[in-house]
């Protein structure tokens, strides 16, 4: 294990401990026993196959989104637009699956994967293009595109595609639904966990290899570390920016596969419940390392699912507070830990 990984693990662990302390403090203030709340959460998540399945199901979408964002973040491209990007792709995925119901499953599935990826990817390319051409910060444009995309999807859905008096598309053919874990592991029965989870694990591994073990990954990170030097070294910075944004945004569409093909069978307005934003925190917590993202996604999924189970004791907003505190803790602790190690070796 190299020093960098060690530093990261140390700072993440310290942050989690700090978060736990603050969480305890808050629960005490509102008159609850933190140990009890924690045990309810853990019990609910880990005691039953259903709880575990639901948690893994929630983690699946987070892994897809956060891996996409990590690719952007490594190039110092602050894509805040995952929420919009994933909705655009998911909407198109559902439409294609509904309207090509006669084609065989593999064809439809592949078509959905590709077109969803491309549609989400294109909505990543637009801010990237504006950034390259006019030097407009992608933070602004991607945030704005969240509003634009959600409004557009809303318009098309309500006016053309929605099932009457609902905010969702029609259901896709039952034959298209992905295998659920409960189909072969009764342990998970009742939960929505499906084989998208395995796809997510594969995506994380592939992203990891892409970022850390390939020429493209080295170029990507070089641009993130030092854009000027990258130009002087001869890297095509603009091309890398476009590719990073396309792949990054494209991957977010896969969370739609999890939801549509794995769970509900249709696209529904608001299905994403802000995972595009939560994924930013997930990626940050994992230091943009896709393997780390698997674990941070699990943590956030536990918080989310567990938050529901303690709804009676504490307001569910507590879990949002915990998510926020984790990010703040990691940002500050990281600095301190890094400085500590730097002073030890620097010369």
């Amino acid at each position: 294990m190299n020093l960098k990984t060690k530093i990261n693990l140390i700072s993440i662990s310290i942050s989690l401990v700090i978060t736990l302390l603050i969480f305890s403090l808050i629960t005490i203030i509102i008159g609850q026993n933190p140990a009890e709340i924690l045990s309810i959460i853990l019990n609910d998540v880990f005691a039953t196959g259903y709880g575990m399945g639901q948690t893994l199901f929630k983690a699946t979408s987070l892994i897809f989104c956060a891996c996409g964002l990590a690719i952007c973040f490594h190039a110092a491209l602050f894509n805040i637009g995952a929420e919009g990007q994933l909705n655009a792709g998911s909407f198109v995925i559902a439409l294609i699956a509904v309207y090509f119901a006669d084609l065989p499953f593999p064809v439809v599935f592949l078509l959905c994967l590709v077109s969803g990826f491309i549609v989400s990817g294109i909505f990543g390319l637009i801010p990237a293009y504006i950034k390259i051409k006019k030097d407009v910060s992608e933070v602004i444009t991607t945030i704005m595109f969240n509003f634009i995309i959600l409004a557009l999807v809303n318009f098309f859905l309500v006016d053309f595609f929605a099932v009457k008096s609902t905010m969702r598309t029609e259901k896709i053919s039952e034959n298209f639904m992905l295998t659920k874990f409960s189909d072969f592991m009764p342990f998970f029965s009742g939960s929505s966990l499906n084989i998208s989870f395995l796809i997510a694990l594969a995506v994380a591994v592939i992203s990891y290899i892409l970022i850390y073990k390939t020429k493209f990954g080295y170029e990507l990170r070089a641009v993130g570390f030092n854009k000027t030097a990258s130009k002087f070294i001869g890297l095509k910075v603009n091309k890398i920016t476009l590719i990073a944004f396309f792949i990054g945004a494209g991957l977010t569409s896969l969370s739609g596969i999890n939801f549509i093909f794995g769970y509900k069978g249709f696209y529904e307005m608001g299905f994403s419940s802000n995972i595009g934003f939560t994924a930013i925190a997930v990626a940050l917590l994992a230091k943009n390392n896709p393997i780390g993202i698997i674990f941070s996604s699990l943590l956030f999924a536990i918080l989310e699912y567990g938050g529901l189970s303690v709804n009676q004791q504490v307001p569910k907003e507590i879990m949002l507070v915990v998510q926020g505190v984790i990010i703040l803790a990691i940002l500050s602790v990281d600095k301190i830990v890094n400085n500590y190690f730097e002073n030890k070796k620097d010369f």
Binding site: N2, T214, K215, R221, F225, I233
Partner: protein, 509 residues
């Protein structure tokens, strides 16, 4: 009376001893030079004196009193000031704003500008700094920026002034100016500590020199009436492992085939003319030197040839060749500091899509062995290496790309004697391989000894090009010395240097 006295100062970074029992004194009201190779501990010692680092052992005295600094705040309080190699200025602020930042004299909440202005103008006049308080720092030259740093120290009334390689970024003319300022400091009873690599400068300006090697004091001597044995000094700096490579450049393989041609190139930025009808051609098997005061268009020429700058008018012909560039600013333009040696080279020269550790190690081992890069372990990030070693890695990367045209921009700036000699030999080696080399530098010794042809750039125009015959007529023999710093210049050289100096500031035709 000693202004500063070090007693048994030691400092370790991890297991690496950066300083071991360093003891010496610095007389007050003198110019004291500290010499040593990259990584010898000079900067570390100065950072301890300035309060940026704390020593692990030993103590030091200011004006005879034992002191302990926890941060630069403490040392500034003791009237110690330091001009770092990389200036600490805010580009978007004016000279005035930069100087008073952190030192605002206020009445209530209001900054007392009139009073400050008059104080600063007095200082500027007294030391002949030639600064306009209202210019933006981003608009003024490097040497003026250095003067802003100096003005900052004088405004705080610092008595002990530390300069970390102050002349590395200056042209010969500017160096002379800088020395005048130093003389003025001495006349005003200040103590000056100078870290440098250039031995000729030591001879010209120092009262005493201390040489550090591997964190220990190895040599100390007073300099009276410019008398010092530079040969001996050089020996002390590099120790036993002295390399002295003399490459024979006479092998004539000038095919005269032109690879790069710039015809009537014009380039303006913010309505300021940078290149003015510039003509230049670069041929196979030659070193074309570009000599000039920094900021006369050198960077733009390099950027046009490498294809980074496209916003120009005129005719640029590239005879279907690839170009490598060793940029002037290695930290911001030259490397990814977070990457290892192998990763930096793979980034540019890697052909395989998958970066296996075998490939990275291979790149890394080759460079480390061939270029004698010194590092604690092969997985160390490039940012943790000393400047000279970083430069070697960048040069290795650019050369091993195997391109027909190589541009070296200030290749030995802030690099020690051994590494400089090595880099020079590499440049000549490439030339002898029939590559076209463009050498941009402000070091006249370097330019004159390496160039086949030498062009002088002034205000974006080439005002004079010396062809090989003309250059040879100034040279005493065909062999070049690759450690020009310590060579006592021949008279002919001096004539050439004088001419170049004039051309560079537009004083000759």
């Amino acid at each position: 009376m000693k202004a500063v006295e070090f007693k048994n100062i030691s400092k370790n970074f991890g297991n690496f001893p950066a300083l071991t029992n360093v003891s010496f004194g610095i007389e007050s009201n003198s110019v004291h030079c500290i010499l040593g190779e990259n990584g010898a501990g000079k900067s570390t010692l100065m950072k301890i004196l300035f309060g940026m680092y704390q020593s692990d052992g030993g103590e030091f005295y200011i004006d005879g009193n034992s002191v302990k600094f926890d941060s630069p705040h403490d040392s500034i309080g003791m009237k110690i000031g330091m001009v770092h190699q990389h200036f600490m200025l805010i580009d978007d602020f004016t000279v005035l704003e930069n100087v008073i930042l952190g030192n605002e004299t206020t009445t209530g909440l209001k900054i007392n500008f009139t009073e400050i202005r008059s104080v600063l103008n007095d200082i500027i006049n007294k030391y002949n700094l030639e600064l306009d308080l209202d210019s933006k720092v981003s608009d003024i030259s490097i040497s003026s920026q250095q003067k802003v740093e100096i003005l900052k120290l004088l405004f705080r009334d610092s008595g002990i002034l530390i300069f970390d390689e102050p002349t590395a970024v200056l042209s010969p003319v500017e160096v002379k100016e800088f020395f005048k300022i130093i003389d003025e400091f001495k006349r005003n009873k200040k103590t000056i500590i100078l870290i440098t690599h250039k031995l000729n400068e030591v001879k010209l300006i120092a009262d005493r020199v201390t040489v550090l090697r591997k964190g220990e004091v190895v040599y100390e001597e007073d300099i009276i009436d410019y008398n010092i044995d530079l040969e001996k000094l050089a020996q002390a700096i590099v120790g036993e492992s002295r390399v002295s490579i003399a490459v024979d450049k006479s092998s004539e393989n000038l095919t005269n085939e032109t690879l790069i041609q710039l015809n009537s190139i014009n380039l303006s930025r913010n309505n300021v003319k940078i290149l003015d009808n510039l003509n230049l051609s670069l041929r196979k098997g030659e070193v074309l030197g570009i000599c000039g005061v920094e900021g006369n268009g050198q960077n733009e020429i390099a950027e046009i040839i490498t294809g980074l700058e496209k916003d120009f008018t005129g005719d640029f012909k590239n005879n279907n060749v690839n170009v490598s560039l060793v940029p002037d600013d290695r930290i911001n333009k030259g490397m990814i500091m977070e990457y290892t040696v192998g990763e930096n080279i793979y980034l540019k020269n890697g052909r395989k899509f998958i970066a296996s550790s075998a490939i990275l190690d291979d790149f890394s081992d080759k460079t480390i062995n061939e270029y004698d890069v010194r590092l604690t372990n092969n997985k160390a990030s490039l940012g943790s290496l000393s400047g000279g070693n970083q430069q070697k890695v960048i040069i290795s990367r650019e050369i091993s790309a195997g391109n027909e045209v190589l541009i070296f921009s200030h290749p030995t700036r802030g690099v020690d004697i051994n590494a400089t000699a090595f880099i020079h030999s590499k440049i000549i080696e490439e030339r002898n391989k029939n590559r076209a080399v463009l050498l941009i530098s402000s070091d006249l010794d370097e330019l004159v000894s390496l160039s086949d042809r030498l062009s002088v750039l002034f205000k974006g125009k080439i005002v004079k090009t010396f062809d090989p015959e003309e250059l040879a007529s100034y040279r005493s023999d065909n062999k070049i010395s690759l450690t020009p710093d310590i060579e006592i210049k021949k008279e002919k050289d001096n004539q050439l240097f004088e001419l170049l100096g004039k051309l560079m500031i537009g004083m000759a035709d």
